[in-house]
Amino acid sequence: MRRNAGRKPRRITMRLAIGLLAAIVSASPLLVTHAQTDGDAIRLPNPDGRDPVFNESQRDNLIDITFYESNDDTRLTLSDFPARLRLINYWATWCVPCVRELPSLSRLDERYPDNDLRIVAISLDRTETQEISDFLSTLSMPPLDWYIDRSRQSGQAANVVALPTSILVDHEGQELGRIFGSADWESAEAIQLIESLLGPD
């Protein structure tokens, strides 16, 4: 096999295409490096190996986000949960990592008095309350108060873009930071994070 002699000069479009492809491919290692460099970020352990990072404050005030009591659809806001520190956890029964972290979250809830840390677990499920309760009863964990936001308005207001998302909020409702992904809330790193955000008594 040989190539035909006297070929036409390559087209400009060909050069542009090669240039673009080369740019995309050559830029990718830089991006990988950038994505993996997170300096002094606080990582919470995750049994799956992908430890989620605590991303510090977006400084939104979330005191007025609206959700509902799971039993009787009473309208609630974050101001109904006074505490030095609040941990809002968005979850759903269909979200595998959410379900995986719920037991450690409920044990974290047991560890602190309500006026120090309140855990506000908000389900974004659209199914019936009884169905969700039945599902939770199959999990081996201490009871955890949970709330519901079928319209997902509070999730939208809080900029929740994937599940699970945990948002740490101070006593005024100001966001301190958030964690995307499933975390082990009983881990030393998680306790250390909570203690540092609680500050001295």
Binding site: R3, N4, A17, R50, N55, A92, C95, V96, L124, N159
Partner: protein
Amino acid sequence: MTMRSALPLAILASLPLIPLHASAQTCSCASVPLLGSMQPASTEGDEWFFATTYEHHEISDLVAGSSTVPDTTGRIRTATALVMEASRGVTDKWAVSALLSSVEHKRAIGGESIRTSGLGDAILLAKYSPRRISLYSDSALSFGFGARVPLGDDDLARDGVFLSEDLQSSTGANGAIAWTYWAKAMNDSGSAQIYTSASFTANGDNSRNYQFGDEATVSFGGSIQMRSPWGFAADISYRNANRDRRNNFEIPNTGGDWLDLNAGFQYRVSESLGIGFGGTFPLKRNLNDQLQFTTSYAWRASVSYVIGSER
């Protein structure tokens, strides 16, 4: 802040299901149908998507109109391709994709055989996605437009004679592409979806005034991501190709209509890395003129990787 997929995983980087389409090849089609190897979902802002797909097309069915003609010659006609895709989400709504291919053709009958290989065509596509499936939206809509660019050779020759277009690694011609994709979540988590996509490719002439027929494709199917790492997808695709032309004269025994079943699965090794396998099987064909060789089946294996910014 973008809205992200509500798949049942803590997704920091969403990994789409493998592409399914590997459109049937006419006997005159030089390159593997690249557009079918492209991921349908649009890459989100600050994300990179990389995929490498190995495709094998068995082009041994001899068809007259819609009837398969027995061929006892024992001939071999295959096309294999390695297709690499890089996609970058530029903003929440805009992404650019580039595909690069390397193609090998084999033909053998009796004691005669020929094998050609080389760089194939590339596709550059800009995608606009006004809607994505997320916690707050149960449907996705994307539009794409771009160009097919011939990077490889279209003038391979043997004994001083040019080989036919279906043995060249590249079409040698520029093309314009329009593409659209719509999907709807069928459950709360978005793990089950139905989708439809359509594309149109207008082909130009190559250096020997050969023009592959313009092509239109439409597909409809569904996908499901299990709670386990397994995901499955299947669709039916219809493709219409015009007759090829040389010096503006139609080439007989080219073009027609194809109806194919595409099915595949994907295994998520991690939240970012997936491997997939799929196949294409003809359901019905109605090809122009007396006789054409066309795809008996095709299969593909792919590895895909997403790099997303942690939020």
